[in-house]
C-alpha cells in the first residue's frame, strides 16, 4: 500500500483550547478516509493544517512523501467548511479563477458545472445562489483538474436530500476510479455510507482509527432462537463462519463471516438437527456504537 499522506504528531492549540493533540495517521492511495468526531473535535483544524492555511504548533505531515508545498495543493481538490468565492462574479468566472490558480485548463469549467447540475446557472452571480447551490459550486471547484486526492470538509453541508444523494454518488464514483478521498464529517451515516476507513477524533485526540468495519463494528447481527437454547449454542459454535455468540434474553445473537448468509446458517443448523423458532437479521446500531466510542 502506498501512502498518500503521512501525519506525524500534529498538535495545535488556540490559547487554552487544545484543538489537536499529537495526531498521527497514515492514509493510503485509494482509501476513502472519514474523519469523524463531534463538533469542535479538531476535524477542520486537521484539514486546515494539511492544506497550508493553519500553522501547526508541532508535528509534521507530507503528501506523497514530500515536504509540503503549494504544488501538492494544486493537485488536491479541496472543500473546507464553507464555499469561498467572489460574490460579484458568476459561477463560471469564479471557477475560471480557480483554474488559473490550479494551473488547469479552463475548458473543464463547463464539465464540472454539469456534474453538480449548475450548468444552467453558470452565468449567475455567486451571491444569488442558495446555500445548497453554493455548496455544489464548491464541489465543482474541488473537481477541477481531475485531482487524484480530494479533501472534503462536510461536503453535504446545506444540501437537500437529493443533493446529499447526488454528492454521495459523485464521491463513490470518484472512489471507483481509485481516487483517494479524505472526508471530515460529524454525520455518522454519511461516513458509514461512503468511507472505507475512519478515524475518530474527540477534543483533538485520536480515539481510534482503521477500516470502518473494525472501528464502528457495523456488521449485521443475526438473532436466532430455538426451544433448546443450550443445544443451539453448542451447535452454533461448531458451524464454520459463526462468531461472537451472545445470549440476549432467551435468544442468541451472532455474527457471520462475510460471504455467509442467514439461509446458510439455517441450513447448517437444520442439517445438524436443530429447528429454529426464529431467525432475524439485525442492522447494527452504529449510532449507539459511535456514541459509546466518543463517550
Amino acid at each position: 500500500m502506498e501512502a498518500i499522506l503521512n501525519i506525524n504528531g500534529l498538535s495545535k492549540r488556540y490559547g487554552k483550547v487544545k484543538a489537536l493533540n499529537n495526531l498521527s495517521l497514515q492514509i493510503n492511495r485509494g482509501d476513502i478516509y472519514g474523519i469523524l468526531g463531534p463538533n469542535g473535535s479538531g476535524k477542520t483544524t486537521t484539514l486546515g493544517i494539511l492544506l497550508g492555511v493553519l500553522n501547526a504548533d508541532s508535528g509534521s505531515y507530507s503528501w506523497n512523501g514530500k515536504a509540503p508545498s503549494k504544488y501538492d495543493r494544486k493537485n488536491i481538490g479541496s472543500l473546507i467548511e464553507t464555499p469561498n468565492f467572489y460574490p460579484y462574479l458568476t459561477a463560471r468566472q469564479n471557477l475560471s479563477i480557480v483554474c488559473k490558480v490550479k494551473e488547469v485548463d479552463e475548458s473543464e469549467v463547463d464539465s464540472v458545472l454539469s456534474i453538480v447540475d449548475l450548468i444552467n446557472r453558470a452565468d449567475s452571480k455567486f451571491k444569488t445562489f442558495s446555500l445548497g447551490m453554493k455548496q455544489r459550486l464548491a464541489i465543482a471547484s474541488a473537481l477541477l483538474g481531475n485531482p487524484e486526492t480530494l479533501v472534503l470538509d462536510e461536503p453535504t453541508n446545506g444540501l437537500d436530500p437529493q443533493g446529499i444523494a447526488e454528492i454521495r454518488t459523485i464521491i463513490l464514483d470518484l472512489a471507483k476510479e481509485g481516487k483517494t478521498i479524505i472526508m471530515a464529517s460529524h454525520i455518522l451515516d454519511e461516513v458509514e455510507k461512503t468511507c472505507t476507513h475512519v478515524a475518530v477524533l474527540k477534543l483533538g485526540n485520536l480515539l481510534t482509527y482503521g477500516p470502518i468495519q473494525s472501528v464502528l463494528n457495523n456488521q449485521e447481527q443475526i438473532v436466532v432462537a430455538s426451544e433448546n437454547l443450550d443445544g443451539l449454542k453448542l451447535t452454533l459454535s461448531q458451524i464454520d463462519g459463526v462468531s461472537n455468540i451472545q445470549q440476549v434474553g432467551n435468544k442468541l445473537s451472532l455474527m457471520l463471516a462475510t460471504g455467509k448468509d442467514s439461509s446458510y446458517l439455517n441450513k447448517s443448523l437444520f442439517d445438524k438437527g436443530i429447528i429454529l423458532s426464529e431467525i432475524s437479521i439485525q442492522k447494527p446500531d452504529l449510532e449507539a456504537n459511535f456514541l459509546e466510542l466518543i463517550k
Binding site: 486546515g48 492544506l51 497550508g52 492555511v53 493553519l54 500553522n55 503549494k70 504544488y71 495543493r73 494544486k74 479541496s78 473546507i80 464553507t82 469561498n84 468565492f85 467572489y86 460574490p87 460579484y88 462574479l89 468566472q93 475560471s96 479563477i97 480557480v98 488559473k100 490558480v101 490550479k102 494551473e103 471547484s141
Partner: protein, 258 residues
Amino acid sequence: MLDLLKIEYKKLIPYSTFWVIFGLFFLFTPIVFYGFGQVKIDAFPIDFATMYKFPNVWNNITYIASWFNLLIGMLLVILICNEFSFKTYRQQVIDGHSKADFIISKILLMSSFSLLSTLYLFIIGFFFGSFSGGEAPFLTDIKYLLIYFIQSLGYMSLGLIMAVLIRSSALSIILFICSIFVESIIRLLVPDNLAQFFPMKIISNLTPFPSPGGVQVANMNGVITEAISLNTTLIIAIIYIFSFWGISYVILTKKDIN
C-alpha cells in the same frame, strides 16, 4: 508572475468599485488641475502664468494628482480586505497559491495601478503642456512622473500593511488615513531633522509643493526646513516601500488563515 496579475484582473474587471474609483480619479484630476489655475489662490506661491507650461506642468500635475493617492490607496485596501472577508485568500492558498504568491499578486496589482495613473498623468500633462506652449521640450523634468509613480506605490504599500494587519475594510481604511495624521502629530514632537525621515513625510515629499524657488519642504507649521534632496528622498522612499512589502509578508506568514 504575469499569470498572477492576470488572475488579479479577472477579479477586478467585473468589480464596480474599481471603475468608480478610477473613474473619479480620471475625471477629477484634470478638472481640479484646470480649476486650480483659474481660481489662483493667493496663498499658494505658484507661478500661475506658467503652471500649465512645460516643464512646470509635470511638477504641478503630479502635485495635484497626489491629492488622490489616498483614494487609490483606499481602493487597494478594499480589494485586499475583500480577499479576507470573502475568504478567497484562504481558498486560493488551499487551491495552490503560497502566501508569497498573495503578496506578489498585490504588489503587481498596486504597481499596475501606479503605472496606469502615471500614464494617465503623462497624457493629461502632455495635453495641458502642448496647448499652453512652454518653451522647454516636454521631456524636461519628466522625472516628476517617475517620482509620482513611486509615491503612489508608497501610499498603497502602507495600505497593504494596514489591510493584512487589520483585515476588515472599514477599520483598515480608517487606520490607513489616521496613520498619516498620527505620524504628522508625532513629527511635531520630534526634532525636525529626525521628523523629515518619517515614512509618510518622505513619501508625501516626493511630489513637492511646486514653487518658483525650486524644491523646498515646509513642515506642518509652514516653517521651511533644510530639505533633503529629491533624489535622496526617492531612495529613502524606495527603501520604505520594500520594507512595507517585507513586513506585510512576515505578518501573513505568522498568522493563521481563518
